[in-house]
Symmetry: C2
């Protein structure tokens, strides 16, 4: 199922399809079509059919997709038919917002700790968590076999912290620091930098 | 310069190139190469040269790119050689983190207001801002010709608020609500949903 030859851009669309399908499920819907999904998402129906066809035969010509079945297949393909433990590094505004965000638990992730190297922040309560010292993070990652981290530290610290996380066993980093990270080929990084996203849009504005 | 035929995926890489170039400028550097940029970013040098060549001839064979010149060209191409006023809708954790984020002002954006429809939040201080009532947003957008908004409201409200923003004149929305928006073809939307980014990575994990 995990065919590494499928382009990452296709993989990137699967969670978006899944989110729409799960919303339809919440609405009590049972069947949808690539046309309907496409309209909801602003993606062509042909693209959606082509993307999904890389993973199997999920719909029948003329009858569309069974929403629950397709959702479950996507959960499996994306490996979120399990729950991934996640650490947050950085207990500033962004790290704190992530720690209190309630959108992870039903989407495959459980935040298990938030860390900071600022002695003034260590021990503080953030949502349900007590901020731990970053010096303890390696031990925690190894003890609990944690592979996923969210990085919300200042740009100047990001590479050093990322390297430490990777040494400890992390394989996927969601990086909020506005800086590109050098990582080994078997480590994935996704970037969230609001200015980058805004700049991508102003290109189209006059 | 603003050739609409250039693929959006190329446009999406330009801000990433710019961020690296600006970091090099801060480091006091004057010249770089597609090789060096590529190594910093994990993108092939050939891809970088191909992307940039769509906008002109920025480097000389063998001497590389002048960092300041290329930065300035990218600022122009992305239309951030000016400052864009931006409104934030939603004064929860994410909206508040955005309002106090100091990474916008030197990258082409100025937050001019934060809005919420919760009477308990209206009037609160968030960083340098006083939370205003969302009912006043249309007037503000029109009076100040604001084209860019960041949307950090609950998923259930996002479409309604987005439609209101667009009616008032907004043409670019950075959407933090975990829901796809229906917008007219002349409006750009970028999505920031951490769970989506995490799910894109767990595909590659065992």
């Amino acid at each position: 199922m995990n065919d590494k030859n499928i382009p990452d851009i296709v993989i990137g669309r699967l969670p978006v399809y899944l989110r729409s399908l799960q919303r339809m499920e919440q609405e009590g819907r049972q069947v949808t079509s690539s046309q309907e999904l496409g309209e909801r998402l602003g993606i062509s129906a042909a693209q959606i059919r082509k993307d999904l066809s890389q993973f199997g035969e999920f719909g029948k010509q003329g009858t569309g997709y069974n929403i629950e079945y397709l959702s479950n297949q996507l959960l499996e393909i994306l490996h979120i038919d399990r729950t991934w433990d996640v650490v947050i590094v950085g207990a500033g505004d962004i790290g704190s917002a992530l720690a209190t965000y309630n959108g992870f638990s039903h989407r495959g992730f459980r935040v298990v700790g938030i860390f900071d190297n600022d002695p003034d922040k260590v021990g503080d309560k953030v949502g349900d968590y007590v901020v731990a010292n970053t010096s303890d993070i390696e031990e925690q990652i190894q003890a609990n076999n944690i592979q996923v981290a969210m990085l919300a530290v200042p740009a100047g610290n990001a590479q050093a912290v990322a390297s430490e996380l990777i040494d400890a066993g992390v394989r996927a980093i969601l990086n909020y620091a506005p800086v590109s990270l050098n990582v080994p080929p078997d480590v994935r990084v996704q970037y969230i930098d609001p200015a980058i996203h805004l700049q991508r849009m102003t290109y189209y504005l006059d």
